[in-house]
């Protein structure tokens, strides 16, 4: 069990001196200890606490390591843009449908109007919606990619996210390219009411089109993937991968704990748990994601007849976690 740091700076110093590279995360212990604390991240702060092992980490170090905890190997949620930079060969990314924005069709108001929330999220993230989609190459293989960004209203799926997933699937079908989806989402966007629920059907319809066209799809579930996203397009791709330690489920752990009035078993709803229960094809560490995706694409579609040479990317110092 990780000791509770008394002084954040001392703790971080220790980490900087002796990072536990390649350490196997102790699933039963550390990952299960995830707290439902709202203050797990301090935006703009120099330090932050690991969601899994509670170590205090130097933010810059975490970012340099591809947002993988240097202490326990926990894979933090990655902003969409950063994911593209990690994944796609430099200079090959062409983003699609950046002009699609949400509209408040229900006139939904809770603490503030939904329209204001959209505006704030757009300002904060510099993105038009929670889903980034486009085409590019992964180690020379042409792909269509859709990435859910948890930073935009919790990666929730409303009409625009659903439409963009559908458009991405149809683009992949048209061009005969594999569709690669990265998810991190709290589920359907409540502010769009029943329209957000219908996106579950819409995205599945489009993935059905892709399937019928003989297309190939992979979903990589990252921390966290829950609710209507898990229960629709994310779970119907040809292959389902997950990042280590990712929280994946239908109902959120808090909902289940409240409903059952009991503590949840250790490691519940973690990627490793889902793998054990037969719900995932594989868990892939972030450091091996590009190579793994390229390999899987080659298995499904044959190796690229003409691999376009790409400049080697700076090797990231990411501890392997499985």
């Amino acid at each position: 069990m990780a000791k509770q740091p008394k002084d954040p700076k001392d703790e971080a110093k220790q980490d900087a001196e002796a990072p536990e590279e390649g350490a196997e995360p102790r699933r039963e212990g550390r990952l299960s200890r995830l707290r439902f604390s709202k203050k797990k991240d301090m935006p703009g702060g120099l330090w932050l606490k690991c969601e899994s092992c509670s170590e205090v980490i130097f933010r810059k170090e975490l970012e340099e390591k591809g947002r993988v905890c240097p202490s326990c190997g926990f894979h933090f949620t990655v902003p969409g843009r950063e994911r593209i930079a990690m994944l796609i060969d430099e200079g090959t990314w062409e983003e699609l449908h950046t002009d699609l924005t949400a509209i408040d069709r229900l006139g939904f108001v809770d603490s503030s109007p939904y329209a204001d929330k959209i505006e704030r999220a757009m300002k904060r993230t510099g993105q038009s919606e929670a889903l980034l989609c486009g085409s590019g190459r992964i180690l020379g293989r042409e792909v269509v990619v859709a990435i859910l960004d948890f930073g935009f209203m919790g990666g929730s799926m409303g009409e625009v996210v659903g439409e963009k997933i559908a458009l991405a699937a149809e683009t992949a079908a048209r061009d005969g390219k594999p569709l690669i989806i990265f998810t991190s989402s709290g589920g359907a966007r409540m502010h769009e009411g029943i329209l957000s629920l219908m996106q579950m059907a819409k995205t599945c319809a489009a993935l059905d089109t892709l399937n019928q066209s003989g297309g190939f799809s992979i979903c990589v579930m990252t921390h966290p993937t829950t609710g209507g996203v898990t229960a629709s397009f994310a779970s119907v791709t040809d292959l389902i991968l997950a990042e280590p330690g990712a929280l994946i489920g239908f109902a959120g752990p808090r909902v289940i704990a409240t409903t059952l009035k009991q503590e949840l078993p250790p490691g519940f709803q973690r990627a490793e748990f889902l793998l054990e229960k037969g719900m995932l094809d594989a868990i892939v560490a972030r450091s091996e994601m590009r190579e793994t995706l390229a390999k899987l694409i080659d298995y499904a579609q044959g190796p690229p007849s003409e691999v376009v040479p790409t400049p080697p990317r700076a090797e990231r110092d990411v501890p392997a976690t499985h």
């Binding site: 059905d208 629709s232 949840l264």
Partner: protein, 402 residues
Amino acid sequence: MGLSSAFSSPILVPRTREGLQIVAKGNKKKKTAGLQGSTGGMAFERPIEEIEAQIAELESLSLSTRLDISGEIEALKARLRETIDRTYTELSAWERVTVARHPKRPVAADYVAGICDDFFELHGDRAFGDDQAMMTGFATIEGRRILLVAHRKGRTTKERLECNFGCAHPEGYRKALRKMRLAEKFGLPIVCMINTPGAYPGIGAEERGQAMAIAENILAMFSIRVPIVAIVIGEGGSGGALGIGVGDRVLMMEHAYYSVISPEGCAAILWKDGERSPDAAEALRLTSKDLLGLGVVDEIVTEPLGGAHRAPSVAMAEVKRVLLRHLDELATFPVDTLLARRHEKYRRISHIEGRFPASPLSKREGDSGEDGPPGGPRRSAPGAESDSTLTSQLESAEGNPG
């Protein structure tokens, strides 16, 4: 809705002398408790229940004393009609949710007894178990053979517990899919009756892949080659509803609700206050009228005045009538047309013209007239081009049943 039909209600039909006495006694002893019990906690039904109690008392009085007070009774009945009419036309979204959850509202088992000539239940998912919250089986309605898939809520407390109050587990969704495949094989149309607060949130459900089971069903229902009619008969709770809710026609009963999240859940998350459920219900736009307006449901099935719980047999007869009309209509389409339309319906659901770009698939078709995407056939391509194809297919289907 017609007044006459509403008044074939069991509450208002002439009662036997014995029955009346029981009612009257109960009312005298524990008036308030009796009222609460019968309204299922619906405060807005109090005035209605009070008038009903008065009528019952007067009727019992007239029987025991042989006095002619039929004039007064008739006047009260008129007032009752008026009160029910007024109450039910002005229901708030939250009140409608409580009507949808009314303990006396007809549930799947009632429909089986009320509208099916025959029902043979088929159990189990042949993998894990037999989820009581999902009922599947062959059924006959007016000579038409169908496969019925329905959430089961149960009527008694014991039954309700057995089927988790209509919250299905993954094995329930897998059982539904297995039976739907069977229907596909035999060419039987599928009727799905939706009535669930949501899919079960629990450890076992997560372990066995609740999300995956629902997702698989949604995907599969796009390629099942028989007509599917879904009807929300009570609660349409989120993914748990959609897991058997993709259809060529989606119908909704007047006082049912269909929502992405329960009003309680929404209030807890967004308002951080479970007490704000009525506000959440209003904001979510979950009533049948809202959903028809948004183009999410195709038709509202009118309920008798005062809700289906007031006159179950009338409500069920109307459901039967509307279901048969849709089943007969869908039977005239060739299967490929049916699937293309089903696909198109959801791909463009609640679409605002010009808001989203045309599908890349339809664009290519329009631009160059080339064949479909590499690797195989394409089913439906939204957009102007496919619309016209669809229309011509539909036209040719008109005189070409089956």
